[in-house]
């Protein structure tokens, strides 16, 4: 089972839902924080990290002794990562998408591949909950390849909960695609609803079943309920605004730490998702 938790808008409570659900389930569960630009789940789960690996992507390296300055590498590169200026080849590694076109097209075998650091992937556990996250190197622009590395740790035998980044573009797609269910966390405000609408469009494109959590459910207005009804999206949990939750969050405490009665609600949330996924598969 793979559940991704997304939102469109940032700060609606993705990490809160992901961590509380993982901890409530307790065992046979893994949390994968794919918000690699700003990973926050570890601040609440305090995992013991037992394995850390640096993740790389490939960038071209030119052997100028072999190079005849034919410009084929610069011509194939759609990302302007290689330029040939008279008898010099300039590379711009930060623009490279690692497609490997320059390597294949060079008639002199003068292009080989070196590494650019994307960031790190750390693995560990918090109690019986397994934990993986990626941390993008500050200054690195491309998060999808690092998200893929985090996702390579998905285990088919247990429950995998993916904490996705905000937005609707490539990093979110990299986190949500090929998951069994997308849980969208929203808040009932105009910003929350607007970005939820975009997020749901992205989920539809990927053809994944989807349900909602409405966080701070007593602020704003009722438009999100109307939207959910119109789109036939099940509302699986409502979390009212509670200053105790907000204050606990500010200190890195989870809802289930502060108010243990919420544990059953998060387990129920998971069971609800499990049933929806089962129904979808039949």
């Amino acid at each position: 089972m793979i559940i991704s938790i997304a939102s469109g808008k940032g700060g609606t409570g993705k990490t809160t839902v992901a961590t509380n659900m993982a901890v409530s389930l307790g065992s046979d569960v893994q949390l994968l924080d794919c918000d690699v630009e700003e990973p926050n789940a570890h601040l609440f789960m305090n995992p013991e990290i037992d394995k850390m690996e640096t993740a790389y992507t490939l960038i071209p390296e030119i052997d100028e002794d072999k190079c005849t300055f034919c410009k084929k590498c610069a011509e194939i590169c759609r990302f302007k990562a290689i330029a040939v200026v008279s008898k010099t080849v300039l590379t711009f590694p930060e623009l490279c998408h690692s497609c490997g076109g320059c390597v294949v097209v060079c008639p002199e075998n003068a292009v080989t591949e070196a590494k650019r650091e994307l960031g790190v992937v750390e693995q560990g556990s918090s109690g019986k909950v397994k934990f993986v996250h990626g941390r993008l190197r500050v200054g690195e622009a491309m998060s999808p390849p690092l998200i893929k590395k985090v996702r390579s740790h998905i285990r088919p035998d247990i429950i995998n909960i993916i904490d996705a980044p905000p937005g609707t573009s490539c990093p979110v797609i990299a986190a949500m695609k090929d998951t069994d269910f997308v849980l969208m966390v929203t808040e009932p405000t105009p910003f929350g609803l607007h970005d939820l609408t975009l997020g749901v469009e992205a989920v539809k494109l990927l053809n994944i079943p989807c349900g909602l959590v409405i966080n701070r459910s007593d602020i704003g207005n009722k438009d999100v309920w109307d939207y959910a009804e119109k789109e036939n999206l099940p509302i699986l949990l409502e979390i009212p605004f509670d200053r105790r939750i907000a204050e606990a969050y500010s200190r890195g405490k989870m809802i289930v730490d502060e108010m243990p009665e919420w544990k059953d609600k998060f387990i129920e949330l998971y069971n609800h998702i499990k049933n929806l996924v089962k129904r979808e598969k039949n």
Partner: protein, 291 residues
């Protein structure tokens, strides 16, 4: 031309709300929404769109089945697993690198330029605004961010305005990097939470990396006054200007529901003074007034 770019790292700290408030209390500037992925500023600005232009992103590989001999070279070459055994290109996976297009022995792959979104020049009750909408699941958000910023600059020059206020995206990746190059200063809006602090530090580090001066303010400060104090200390130790704080106030949500700023919605709100102090601090800061 001065440009203030509003960032946070963490989403939901109040970037867009503050941008709108600043719009309400300033003049002679262009508003720019650079959060093209999940743009929200228009919900408060109610823009009257004057000019609408397609945003052309990169190419997308399309296999012409009449010419294709199913030799499989494209499948072997594609590093993004975008071509499956049925010789159909998966649009979501295709990175637009064009390697298959150039190397197909039958020249059977087309590479049409994709329209990835739209960008707009609008009038608002607070003056001109440049904004955009990136298509769902599209790449090239950095390119569109760079475009709306460049168009904001052109518009400001044409209208003889001396400043741009840019509402930035969350995170520290591609669209954020595209938001900060060449700007005058960053305003980082954080909140007194462990995640707010964690993410703020990474944006400060990014600002340092690209040598753009940053300033910090704390929103919802009274959710944890102790943590707010710690942020103030931490920021000063990093040699970053601390501009002040804003209380947690439901007036922001209430006015948002009405599509208004707090300056329009509630003339009595004491929170207005906190916002005003931060804006005055920005305008008087050495960061915004460097030559």
């Amino acid at each position: 031309m001065k440009e203030l770019v509003i960032l946070s790292g963490k989403g939901g700290t109040g970037k867009t709300s503050l941008t709108a408030e600043f719009a309400a209390i300033s003049d002679n500037r262009v508003l720019c929404d650079a959060d093209v992925d999940a743009a929200d500023l228009h919900l408060l600005m109610n823009p009257d769109i004057k000019q609408r232009t397609d945003f052309k992103g990169g190419g997308l590989a399309v296999i012409n089945s009449d010419k294709c001999t199913e030799c499989g070279l494209c499948i072997d070459l594609c590093r993004f697993d975008a071509i499956k055994d049925d010789f159909e290109v998966n649009e979501v996976e295709c990175e637009g690198c064009g390697v298959c297009v150039d190397l197909c022995p039958e020249k059977a792959i087309d590479f049409p330029v994709k329209t990835c979104g739209e960008w707009y020049i609008s009038d608002t009750r607070f003056g001109p605004m440049v904004h955009a909408r990136l298509g769902i699941a599209e790449e090239n958000s950095g390119k569109l961010v760079a475009l709306v910023r460049q168009e904001s600059r052109k518009l400001a020059e044409a209208k003889n305005m001396d400043m741009i206020i840019t509402d930035g995206p969350p995170g520290v990746g591609c669209p954020v990097i595209a938001s900060i190059g060449g700007s005058t200063s960053l305003l980082i809006v954080t909140e007194p939470t462990v995640s707010g602090i964690h993410d703020m530090k990474r944006v400060i580090e990014l600002a340092g990396h690209f040598k753009v001066p940053a300033m910090v303010c704390v929103n919802k400060y009274d959710l944890n006054p102790k943590q707010t104090q710690a942020i103030e200390q931490m920021v000063r130790n990093m040699d970053v200007t601390f501009l002040g704080k804003i209380p947690f106030d439901p007036v922001f949500t209430k006015s948002m529901v009405q599509g208004k700023t707090i300056f329009e919605y509630d003339k009595e709100s004491s929170t207005r003074q906190f916002v005003k102090n931060i804006w005055d601090g920005i305008m008087a800061s050495p960061e915004m007034n460097q030559l």
